[in-house]
Structures are given as C-alpha cells and as structure tokens.
Amino acid sequence: MAEDEYTVEIDERLCKGCFLCVWTCPVDALRESDRRNERGYRLPEYVGGCRGCRQCELICPDLAIEVRRKGEGS
C-alpha cells in the first residue's frame, strides 16, 4: 500500500476525549485508544488512511487536531 499523503496530529494537551473526530471520519482513519492524557481523558489515535478531507479538524471542539500534508510545514 502506498504511504499516506496526509497525517493527523492530535494535541494531547487540548483533547478532552469526546471522539467526535472518530465519529465524523468517513474513512475510519481515527479510533478510540486506551491511552489517557495528563488530565485523564482518553485519547483518539490515528491509524492511517487519511485522505485529507479535514472534517475531524473542523468539528473538533477543542481545536486539538491538525491534518497535515506530508512534507509541508505548519
């Protein structure tokens, strides 16, 4: 399989574990993990396959997600 063009970065300091990103992703590129951040919220994780629609980025209530095209800066 070809390498993904995009990557999804989650700011663990901001995430509150609502998982709306997992709900909205049309290609199941995100899933719920058992890892928790320092405040005890369970975190989502990127499992690969992002096609760059950026719906997770836009729905995130905590502004914790950034979808990046690989090779690009911020």
């Binding site: 509150k16 998982f19 836009l58 729905i59 502004l63 911020s74």
Partner: protein, 268 residues
C-alpha cells in the same frame, strides 16, 4: 493569516465540557475569520466580538480580537451602540438561546426590525447549560430539564421564524454536525450588510443530552443530523439559507438623517 494566530493559547484548553458544540463553533469561526483576514476582506483591528452571558458567550475570551463580554441578554444593545458610534467596525455577536431569546428576546427582535448591521451567531443548545440545565425558550416540547422534570409543556420558539417575522434580511440555520456548511454561512453573513442571523443547533451533552437519552456528544450529533433537513420534510427541522435579501442597514439611515438634519440647520 493562520487561524492559530487568532487563538489566545495561554487560555487554552477552554472551560467547555468534552464534546461541547460551542467548541466547534469557536473552531469554525476562527477559521472563517482567518480566511477573511487573509483575503483582505476584513481587518482584524476593526473586527469586534460581542457576547452576553452563557457558555456560548465565553468564546470571545479565547479569540485574539477586540471583544466585549456584556450583561445577560444585552450583547445586541451594546452592539447597537458600537455600530452607531463606529460604523466601520465589523461586529460579530456570539450569543445563545437563553441569552438571545429569553432575557434578550426584546433586543433580538428590535435589532432585526431596525436591521442593525451585525452578524449574530446563536449557539442554540436547547437548554441553559451554564447554570445547570434549566428549560429555555427553545427547549423542545416534552424534553426534560431540571425545571421540567416531567417534560417541557411549552412549545419552543423557532428563532429563525422569529427574526424573519421581525424583518431580518439574512437568516440561516445549521447545526454543529454541519461544520463545513456553517463555515460558509459565516462567510456569507460577514459579507452581507444588515442583520445576519445564524441559528446554530448545538449539543449540550452535559445538561441536555444526559436528561434526554442522548448521553454522548456523538449521539447528540446523530440526533441533529437525523432530525434536520435542507428540504421541507415533515417532522424535521429545516436547515439551510432561509432568507437572503437586502435592506438598508440602521446605521446608514441614522447617519443619512444626521447629515440631512444638520445640513438644514447650517443652511437655515
């Protein structure tokens, strides 16, 4: 301008609950504003956020723009003064269903009637979230809240119909399950002169969902997605562009009148 430059990161993470719809509204708003600033259509030094009281009204505190956090129900009253004194300001009012439709109901209809040139983004989460989940003017009939434990006996206000009835020229309704459409709606509202009203149906999992069998943010968004439609479907809430017209804004008429009257005095 990158949207990241518009957030006061030193105040983040914000106080909103996990999965709060106000967070999505903040997210969409700063991206829409950053695009407008980047395109040179708006000036960050001439853009002001005005809010009242409630969870939605906390949002300006996280945005690196001039802002007014005013008294309960009165953001439109403050915005009226701002716009008349400084007509070149772009004013965005962030309010909620309790703030805009209950205690501020009069300000809302009269701002719409006068066609005050502001963009109103009303986070309509169907409940008083901040104070613990009391019934609001938009709580659906039969829904449970701390003050209607047996179900709400009152019919709710349709805020879009209300402001259209009062004369608002640009009215749209979206939900937090439609962030992309909401962003485009904010773009349109910022471009229009006159009173632009966006009713954003939003989720309060903590105080609305918990009492109405919609415990998780996800369930609430599914409810919003399933119970709304861009067509007139029976039993569904109509979303989309409900009215898009033009009418001369209030501040233009007032300033024309001032010019006319003071001209007369000088001439006479």
């Amino acid at each position: 301008m990158n949207w990241r430059d518009l957030i006061r990161w030193e105040r983040m993470p914000h106080i909103l609950c996990p999965g709060c719809g106000n967070g999505t509204i903040l997210n969409v708003l700063v991206r829409a504003l950053a695009e407008k600033f980047e395109a040179g259509e708006l000036d960050p030094d001439r853009t002001v956020l005005v809010s009242g009281i409630g969870c939605s009204s906390r949002l300006p505190g996280y945005v690196r723009l001039d802002s007014l956090h005013t008294t309960h129900g009165r953001p439109l009253a403050f915005a009226t003064g701002l716009k008349l004194a400084n007509p070149d300001l772009e004013i965005i009012v962030l309010t909620g269903d309790g703030d805009a439709a209950a205690i501020g109901g009069n300000h809302l209809i009269h701002a719409a009637r006068r066609n005050l040139d502001v963009t109103v983004i009303c986070s309509n989460n169907l409940i008083y979230g901040m104070t613990g989940g009391q019934v609001s003017p938009t709580t659906p009939e039969g829904a449970k809240s701390t003050t209607t434990p047996y179900g709400n006996p009152e019919p709710p206000f349709d805020l879009c119909e209300l402001v259209m009835g009062a004369g608002a020229p640009h009215v749209e309704r979206w939900t937090t399950a439609h962030p992309q459409q909401l962003k485009r709606a904010i773009h349109r509202a910022l471009e229009r002169d006159g009173f632009s009203f966006i009713d954003v149906l939003s989720q309060c999992p903590t105080n609305y969902g918990r009492r109405n069998d919609l415990k998780s943010p996800r369930e609430m968004l599914e409810w919003l997605r399933e119970n709304t439609s861009t067509k007139d479907e029976p039993g569904k809430i109509r979303i989309g562009i409900l009215r898009d017209e033009e009418r001369k804004p209030f501040h233009e008429r007032v300033h024309e009148l001032i010019e006319e009257v003071s001209g007369d005095e000088e001439g006479g």
